[in-house]
């Protein structure tokens, strides 16, 4: 089977000369548009990086939901979510033993 190709965007933004991505809004909206365009040209996956406290994509789920609403077949992913920052829906007493 043909290898699956996904794009991975860090979603950097920076208001400097030559940058097409000047604000956080640009980064989010263009990532959605790139997922739509990637699906049209036959790419198999649209993946986003997650960084906190930096001019890059951070909170992935609103973005993934929007990408999902605008596309039909392309895989939507993260590479990767930093689990130090996530509330996984925790109930402390059921936390499994560390392995």
């Amino acid at each position: 089977m043909t290898k699956r190709i996904g794009f991975l965007s860090f979603g950097h933004w920076q208001p400097v000369r030559g940058s097409q991505v000047r604000t956080g809004a640009d980064a989010l909206l263009q990532t959605i548009e790139l997922a739509v365009a990637a699906e049209e040209v036959g790419v198999d996956g649209a993946y986003v990086r997650v960084h906190h406290f930096a001019p890059q994509l951070a909170s992935p789920f609103p973005l993934l939901a929007a990408m999902g609403a605008r596309t039909r077949t392309i895989e939507l992913g993260t590479a990767v979510i930093d689990m130090r920052y996530e509330n996984p829906s925790t109930w402390p007493r059921m936390r499994p033993p560390r392995t």
Partner: protein, 248 residues
């Protein structure tokens, strides 16, 4: 996070492939503590990330995580998060930066995501070290007895030179970035993979020799997103149509 992931997965018709891990070195010092997550006494932030991952995976798999309130519901015992998205549990990947972590990932039953750097160096080329990591992952997966086939992805920087604009932006880098780099990250040795820059035919020839690309089912291509949607769509079209089919 478990509710958010399930909701986004349902909205997309089950297309989420979620890579999770400890995360990378970052701009903030102990940044997660400002979100309320502080490692327990004697535990590292990597331990905490693994704890969070275990609870997240249990929650999306339907484990009860909250005690039912008998005044509000007829249910007894523990309540699971809602909504649940069937199948999402099989689409969780762990980003592993070493061979040992890849083995752990297989033992846990998660797919493997490996990037363009490994936080160890044995002197062998990056693609061979990463291929060894994938082999160890697959061996550990088989030994653990999981029934499904795991997914494996590697990331690569791939920039086909297809017109004046791509040549103007990346032509000069083609030579400079054509080799692995070894450096220090978080106080240890790390090996960084090379970039693949050239005509689509040249890239096919070089990627065909990449041992880890050969062993992965998915290649994630890092994109220079600040050059805009149209530019990146052209690069991706060339990769999807001129390069990927030739990789087999």
């Amino acid at each position: 996070m478990a509710e958010d992931a399930a909701a986004a997965d349902l909205i997309s018709g089950g297309r989420l492939q979620l890579g999770i891990s400890r995360g990378s070195p970052e701009t903030a010092l102990r940044g997660s503590e400002s979100f309320g997550y502080v490692p327990e006494e004697g535990a590292t932030d990597a331990d905490m990330a693994r704890d969070h991952a275990a609870v997240f995976r249990a929650a999306i798999a339907g484990a009860g995580v909250a005690q039912a309130n008998p005044q509000m519901t007829a249910a007894n015992g523990l309540l699971a998060i809602q909504p649940q998205s069937p199948g999402l549990s099989d689409r969780i990947w762990w980003g592993a930066g070493t061979r040992a972590t890849a083995v752990w990932t297989a033992e846990q039953g998660m797919n493997l995501m490996s990037s363009t750097l490994l936080t160890e160096d044995t002197g062998v080329p990056f693609d061979e070290l990463q291929a060894e990591q994938i082999t160890m992952f697959r061996d550990a997966w088989a030994k653990a007895g999981w029934e499904r086939e795991p997914r494996v992805s590697v990331s690569r920087s791939i920039l086909p030179l297809i017109d004046d604009e791509t040549r103007r932006y990346f032509g000069l880098r083609a030579q400079a970035d054509a080799h692995d780099q070894v450096g220090h990250l978080d106080g240890g040795l790390a090996r960084f993979g090379r970039s693949f820059i050239g005509s689509p035919d040249q890239i096919v020839a070089e990627l065909s020799k990449d041992a880890a690309v050969r062993d992965a089912d998915t290649v994630l291509v890092t994109v220079p997103n600040q050059l805009g949607v149209d530019f990146n769509a052209r690069i991706l079209e060339s990769i999807a149509k001129d390069i990927a089919p030739a990789l087999g």
